[in-house]
């Protein structure tokens, strides 16, 4: 369990993080728009940058000495894109050296082991620059396991991946999260919903809400509607409402999922999802306004 206590961090007299309090356990997801402070918060938790106020406390199961604590945290930055000219194996070998695995034999074994975790064994002689985005991210994950991390911090794990790579990568993250505390950030509510048992919504450096996916979804209760319409009515509806989804139906009908505080005509209420709750929370804060 990681307790984030009253963290504040200023850049150039502007708060990037403002009085953040979080209780992190299991797989924790941070979502928020660009510039919300997600990366800054991750760096703070990873101990990479100093804060102006507050502290991060690590509770039970971890050895409390600073050194071992630092080493039990593995961090994957938002843009992991390194050593383009060398092979995956050489890259991991080098990172292992820097991380302090000095014995050549142990290091070789460890590199092989982490390649197996991320399923890159048969690609190990490929150069980093020839890899797809997803494979590169997998090298990034592999790198985290060179030490024995108890806490994984992954910034934007699925950003920039194509659909199939995204699904594969999500499953990979799930499979490595067992018995560990994992913190991820994302713009994509769906990924967070799939992966996380607890979610925090961050905007302008402040946590707006924290809870499970269902709890967040519930904030949009009574604001999500379904409406069946003909194609020629669409543009009118799009003009007045925030349409979350359009689904084709038999007989040239379209089923629209609408986000609205008041009930649109002929609309029936539906169960909100995480994305709806997320939108309503952001809207409560005034970003999201379609009229």
């Amino acid at each position: 369990m990681i307790k984030v206590r009253n963290i504040s961090k200023k850049y150039k007299n502007r708060y990037s993080l403002k009085n953040i309090n979080l209780n992190i356990e299991g797989i924790y997801g941070l979502i928020g728009p660009n510039g919300a402070g997600k990366t800054t918060l991750m760096r703070v938790i990873a101990g990479l940058i100093k804060v102006d106020e507050g502290e991060v406390l690590f509770r039970n199961s971890y050895d409390s000495s600073i050194k071992s604590l630092r080493e039990s945290i593995a961090y994957l930055p938002q843009d992991f894109n390194i050593y383009p000219r060398v092979t995956i194996e050489e890259c991991l070998n080098h990172i292992a050296i820097v991380k302090g695995l000095s014995k050549s034999f142990d290091r070789k074994r460890k590199v092989q082991e982490v390649l197996e975790i991320v399923n890159l064994v048969e690609h190990k002689y490929k150069k980093i620059k020839d890899l797809s985005g997803g494979m590169r991210k997998r090298v990034g994950i592999a790198q985290m396991f060179l030490t024995e991390p108890k806490i994984l911090i992954i910034d934007e794990p699925t950003n920039g991946l194509d659909i199939s790579e995204r699904f594969r990568f999500r499953n990979l993250i799930r499979s490595i999260s067992k018995d560990r505390t994992v913190i991820i950030t994302s713009h994509i509510a769906e990924d967070v919903e799939f992966l996380c048992n607890k979610i925090g919504i961050l905007k302008n450096g402040e946590i707006l809400k924290e809870g499970t996916s269902e709890e967040i979804a519930n904030y949009a209760k009574g604001m999500v509607w379904e409406i069946t319409a003909k194609p020629n009515e669409i543009s009118n509806i799009l003009h007045h409402y925030t349409v979350l989804n359009i689904e084709k139906q038999p007989f040239d009908n379209l089923k629209l999922r609408i986000f609205s505080k008041s009930q649109p005509k002929y609309a029936k209420p539906v169960e909100p999802k995480l994305i709806d709750g997320y939108l309503s929370i952001l809207e409560g804060d005034g970003v999201f306004d379609v009229t």
Partner: protein, 208 residues
């Protein structure tokens, strides 16, 4: 091989200092006997400043590709060892050039100049490394190094109010103090290196 990874990773950038050494050797072969006097100057100004090249481009990925966020916790020993390896390699190169320059000139340069070259190599490389790490920018650091060398060359080490590390006239200089100067340079370099390691552990930008 010790630097195999680093050299492969650096790619063609690794060969630039070697290219300048090659130019120097060609120049050495072509130059007429009367111009011997400027050989040592060219060695100092056109070849030796590349001492920063390898240690600095070796950490290119640290600041261009976000590796610093992974390494900040661990970096230290590696930074120092890579620096020492590359700088030793460069020193071998410089001393070799000094040696063949002596052969060409026939009447050898004072041996004190070896102390000078060693001191200059360390002070330039460690200083540019420190600037790179402090500002987290290879461009600014290498540009300021190039500007420094260039303006020193143009003003023959006068005018500008900063320290002058090159010697433009061997006659007017007391060569016997060069070994003391080397000790001082090495000492300052050590301070620069420790500061580099300290700042490499923080990822926050200090300026900009």
């Amino acid at each position: 091989m010790l630097l195999k990874f680093q050299i492969k990773n650096m790619g063609s950038l690794f060969y630039l200092p070697l290219l300048f050494c090659a130019f120097y050797i060609i120049f050495l072969l072509l130059i007429p006997a009367e111009l011997e006097g400027i050989l040592f100057l060219i060695l100092q100004i056109a070849v030796l400043p590349f001492s920063f090249w390898w240690p600095v481009f070796n950490i290119y990925d640290l600041y261009q590709n976000n590796v610093e966020e992974i390494f900040a916790t661990y970096i230290g020993k590696n930074l120092l060892f890579d620096y020492l390896r590359f700088t030793s390699l460069f020193l071998i190169l410089i001393l070799f050039l000094f040696f063949i320059t002596n052969i060409k000139v026939g009447q050898p340069f004072p041996l004190h100049l070896v102390f000078l070259l060693i001191g200059q190599t360390f002070i330039i490389s460690s200083f540019v490394l420190l600037i790179t790490i402090y500002l987290k920018s290879i461009e600014i650091a290498s540009m300021s190094a190039i500007l420094y060398v260039f303006s020193e060359a143009v003003t023959t080490g006068e005018i500008f109010p900063w320290p002058h590390i090159f010697i433009f006239s061997l006659d007017s200089h007391n060569l016997n103090v060069l070994w003391i100067q080397m000790i001082i340079y090495l000492f300052i370099s050590a301070i620069f290196l420790f500061a580099s390691i300290k700042y490499a552990k923080t990822i926050e930008r200090n300026i900009i």
